[in-house]
Symmetry: C2
Subunit: 146 residues, 2 copies
């Protein structure tokens, strides 16, 4: 567990989450400036639903790596903003299937534009090869820890 102390020693910033905090805050700022009043966390739920509608809350929890209780309340808030609806699954009345409303679906283009803008701002002065490596590394970290 102390195999690579040299590399790890300078990597505590990763543990403090500074880069992710900065990224998340910038996304929210960009969304707000585009007139979209959702949080970055709500964005991540919508992003999953833009990829595939009708997911259960469990599936959303897995895809966004959150506790299912966090999903309950995120969906609560998205329902209140009339961006998604809960539909009880007839074949298993325990589960809710989450669908986008027309407004929720309509938001996709504008939101993804802001998401792309945010990533471009974040990765300014980072060459493509390094971006690719960082992407793979974060992916491996997730696989290691999930």
């Amino acid at each position: 567990m102390d195999k690579n102390p040299i590399e790890a020693t300078e990597f505590y910033d990763f543990l403090t989450g500074k880069a992710y905090t900065a990224l998340s805050r910038r996304l929210q700022k960009n969304l707000r400036e585009a007139g979209i009043e959702i949080t970055s966390e709500q964005w991540s739920i919508l992003y999953a639903l833009w990829e595939e509608e009708g997911l259960t809350q469990q599936e959303l929890a897995q895809r966004t790596f959150r506790d299912k209780t966090a999903i309950t309340r995120l969906i609560d808030n998205l329902v209140r903003r009339t961006l998604v609806i809960r539909v009880t699954d007839d074949s298993d009345r325990r589960t809710n299937l989450i669908y986008l409303t027309k407004s929720g679906r309509h938001l996709k283009e504008k939101c993804m534009h802001q998401a792309n803008k945010t990533l471009a701002e974040a990765l300014h002065n980072v060459d493509a090869a390094h971006t690719q490596t960082a992407k793979e590394t974060l992916r491996q970290v997730y696989i290691n820890l999930k």
Copy 2:
């Protein structure tokens, strides 16, 4: 702002913070299993103080990239756990200087061991060169967005 859509397109997971969430959760789990009942956020404050005591709350806010109100309440919780104390600066009575208590100082070794363990688990199967690149990339992201 849409200069590198290809690289960005597969990088939305970075925006959702999955890797950081996984990392933060694992750190807290490792600390708990070592009998240390602090959150990963509290760890990041203590980490800054282990590097340098007597920081102001503003300085802590900058170093951990958090809103100063978040620092107020993190310090509240750390004071309640008797890990740090607030000392009013005599030369400027607006500012609090934050010092570790004996318990807070004592925690360093055990906590840093768990932090190193967490990073090692996270970076398992990631070679040193990639770790280095990821580190630099996250650093650049932070610089771009801060």
